[in-house]
Each structure stands twice: as structure tokens, then as C-alpha cells.
Symmetry: C2
Subunit: 328 residues, 2 copies
Amino acid sequence: MLFLSEQEMWQSVTLEDVMDAIEDAYAIHKSGNYKMPDRFIAQRDKNMMLYMPCFLDSVIGTKMLSEFPDNPSLGIPYLNGLMILNNAKTGLPKAIMNGSALTAMRTGAVGGVALRYLAPEDAASVGLVGCGMQGLHQLLYACEVRPITDIYLYDAYAKDLSGFIERLLARLASFGKNAIQIHTCADTRELAEHSRVLISATQAVDPVYPDDEELLRGKCFVAIGSWRPERRELPDAVWKLVKNAYTELPYACEESGDLKIPLEKGVLTQERVHFIEDLIEDTKQGHPHEQNETRCFKSVGMGLFDVRTAQLIYEKALDKGIGQKLNF
Amino acid sequence: MLFLSEQEMWQSVTLEDVMDAIEDAYAIHKSGNYKMPDRFIAQRDKNMMLYMPCFLDSVIGTKMLSEFPDNPSLGIPYLNGLMILNNAKTGLPKAIMNGSALTAMRTGAVGGVALRYLAPEDAASVGLVGCGMQGLHQLLYACEVRPITDIYLYDAYAKDLSGFIERLLARLASFGKNAIQIHTCADTRELAEHSRVLISATQAVDPVYPDDEELLRGKCFVAIGSWRPERRELPDAVWKLVKNAYTELPYACEESGDLKIPLEKGVLTQERVHFIEDLIEDTKQGHPHEQNETRCFKSVGMGLFDVRTAQLIYEKALDKGIGQKLNF
């Protein structure tokens, strides 16, 4: 059995590797050759343990996360956990890795893959609303897939973004990206004015951007936060501008207020909601990328991303001799 | 974070330690200060992953087991897994250990604790029906709590018990027990004739002992197998002989055919079913042990046993500097 720390996980793979794993996960999802039960939640008071199993033909993965709301007040991340891989033929455990690192890594890559297929090839600016762990990883992948020269930041709660910028610059530098300029914005209007790609990674209840079609026209949106039915990050203007809404799964229309609320209001219609796995396959078969000027991807995630990404990390780590071998 | 292999787990604790942990688990169960959700099963075809979380005030534990029916034909145990401990205040993972080793260790200790309170003080002989991993561990604890000089073995499927006997003798010797005689029996009648304590650890559908009151009178029964509603290990004669039936939980009367079937037939009545945690508390408060000549404990297990045992192993391992430290 192999154990991989956060650092060892990043040593094992490239950003491109992780995005390829996400594309594989979409292909597996499209093939139907998997079993992904509903996640299971065990709760005591406000603290939760979440268990997310997923069976592939080649491996079984379980992401086990804890969500403890009081952690941030103790200086500890809200979300922590482990990813466990089991042999698909025997059930024997084969790898354990850092589950919160995996979550950030694969969620960033899900955003990156969406930009591969939705963002203009020459997009050089990206704006981020919500400067946390998830947002940081979104930016790493955005800078990998497009020739980004400028990053714009806004956070409704963090007044001082210097710590975030320091971490971001260090991580960008570790991927050889040393010339990107970072700018902080006073509000999301300023952010949107400057950014071709707009990423939101917040727990916002109400839309984070002004509901202004002229401001938002021609942007490429990636929304990965606020996945509850009563919350949303995107204003109605986005749905008026885009031809298609892209997401991963039918249940996103129920689970995410970003789709559920505009569908209920009639600003978005069900036939305009498409699955990005279909766009990826179409594009690979030579059909053109999404051509509308304003584009949008809403992510709710799925366990398949975790297990396929973890499997790739495990295989690459084995190849490179990275990680601690555990005698079971 | 600490990782403990099967060998390191056994190095960390004594048999008495584990039985004390089981008695603590009963006391916690009686106090109500815990949260133990129903176990969660994820299944693909005939293979199952089981997740058994349990929150104590001091720690959170999750036993994660795989049950792969084809494993024995590959020479691999049917059941494998991990036990994971998380900090109760922050949810951060703190220990990972071998889950199947923990299961055998604590199930053996559950049997051992039952014998502490039910078996005659001078019981010198024990019979085991079902010579597998669980049965072997039952014998280790039985020999710890009573002055056993003779072990009698029977297995309906294994014709050659020499491998089992070799492993059993080695394990007994590791606990300083070198003078115990091992005997194999042609059937369970012969086994019961020679044994004061009778332990069954099988997947039997029908009772494993002859339905003969004269044969079974005065014995102390521990039944840990066949926990499904349609299966049982104990014949009606046992319920006619005992004053009380001891088990752990009310749901045992639904889940275990050993209680459900005789209750439905009227051979056993609900008011004669008692919880061993009450017997333990009564005995500790100075009331006499169960005095009836024939005694019986039916175990169905509970997640509380796993988490309390794993917590003790973790603490003892930390004290002794045993285990692999993992950089998370």
C-alpha cells in the first residue's frame, strides 16, 4: 500500500496530466462503465463526515471528507480528508492520499478542462472572485491552458490579499510562470471590465457579478462555488447572453441554484443545458468549439473525477518511486 | 498522522487492554454519549464496500471494509479494510490501521468479555465450531480469561485443520501459553461432550450443535457468526436451557436468526433477552454473575467496539513509539 502526501501528489503529476485524467473521467462517465452511489453523510451536531465511493472497472475509490464549520476560527481548513483506492478485483486497499489536496487539484483541473473547450484561444486575462484554496487552483490551471498575462482578484471578505498573492505567485513560479501580473480589484465590476475569463469560487448566496449584459458580454464564465439549490454566483444576464449552459450531470439542475433558479424563472431553458462531456467528444471528432461569444460552465463535481485523478496520481507516483510504502 | 500495520497493532496492546476497551465501549453505549449512524453499503455486482462511522466525544472512527465473495478462490481473505480515526474537534485524520485485523481483534475481545461475565471461573475446556480467522481470535481471548487446558476443534468444511492448529499454537505461544492441548473432533456432539465453553464462528444456515438438552446443559455458549435473520448457529435446546439470552443491541433480535427465529417460535421470549452491558454494570456494582448453569451470549457487533478499540491501540502505540508517522 502506498501513502502520498500533498507534496508527493504534486510531485507525481503535471497540470496537463490531471486535466487529461478529468477528460478520461468524462469519457468513462459517457461510457456508463462505472458505479457511483450517492454520497453518504454521517453527522453529529454541525460536524459532518462525507463518504463518496465510486467503482470504475479498473479501481475503486472512496473520498472521505470531514466538514467542520468551526475549523476556520481555529485556523484549520473547513474541509479535510483522505482519498483511498482499492483494487477493483479484490477490494484490497492499494493507496491512501490527501483528500483535500486531491479535491483542490481535480476541481482546478475541471475548471481547466472547461477553459480548454470554452475559452477563446487568445484569452490573456482571468478574474477570480473568491480567493481561497479552490480559487487558487482554478488560476493555476487557467494559466496552463491559456496565455494568461494578467490575473485580477476580488474577495468580498478578505480585505488583505497579500498572503493569497504570495502563495499564488509561489505556485505559479513552481510551474515556470514568473511573468504574470496580479491585480486586486475594488469590486467585481472592475474585475469583469478587465478579465476575458471569469472564475467564481465562493459560497455566495446571491450573484457575485453585476446583472449587466453589456459588462458581461463576450466573457467565458467558470462557476465552481455555491452548489446548493438556494445559492448562485451568476446573475441572470449570463443566461441571457449564452447560447448554451454547460455542466457535468443532469442533477446539477436540481442541486445548483445557478441552474435551478434561472430554469425556474424561465431565463434559462432545459434544452439549452448541455453536458460538457458531449462538447468534448464533439470537439475531438472535429466539430468546432462552442462558437457563441459568451460562454459558461457550471461545475457541481462528481466522485468519478476524484477516483480517476487519484488513480493517475498513484500510477505516476509508482512509476517515479514517489511516496511511502506501507506494510499492511 | 500515524499508520499501524497488523503486527504493530498487536505490539501496541495486550489482550486485557482490548477487552478493557470493549468494556469501555459498553459503558459509552449505556451512557448514550455517542452517535453511530447505520452502516452504509456501496455495491457493484456482488462486491461490497462498507462504511461504518461512529462518533465518540473523544474521537471519530470509520471502519471501511471490502467484502469480495470471490477472494477466497484467489487465496485472499473475503474481508479486507482500513480503520480510520479522525480528531473529534477538527475532523483531521489522525490514524489509519488495518481494519480486518481490528475486526478480528475486537470480535475476539467481545467474546472474551462475555466469558469474563458468563463462563464458570474454573472452565478449563473450550470448543470451537468454525476454524477461521474469527474463531482463532475467539480462542486467544478465551484462553486469556479462563484457565483453559484443552481446546476442541470442529469445522464442517476444513478436513485438514493442521494449518489452523499451527497458527493457533504459534499465537498462543506468543502470549506465553505453551501447555494447551489441541484436539480435533469428528462432529459437534463429540466437541460439546468435552467442552465447558462452546464458541461458534461460522456462516451456518442451520444450528451447528445437536438439539439435545442433555448434551448442552451447563455449557457457556458464545455465538458470533451467522448474523443474518435467516441463519442461526444455536439449536432450540439452548434457549430452553438458559434463563437469559445476552446480546449487545435491541436490533440483534431482528438481525440475527439466532434470536429472531426462537423468538418467533416462542422458544425464547423478549423479556428473557438482556443486554450484556447491563450484566457488566450489575456485576461491577457487586451483584453476582449470571448464576444459571447454562449461559449464552449472541454477538452482532457494533461500530462502537471498533472505534474504542482503535482509539486505545492508537494511544498505546503513540506511548510506545510504535507505527509509521505519515506527513499529511
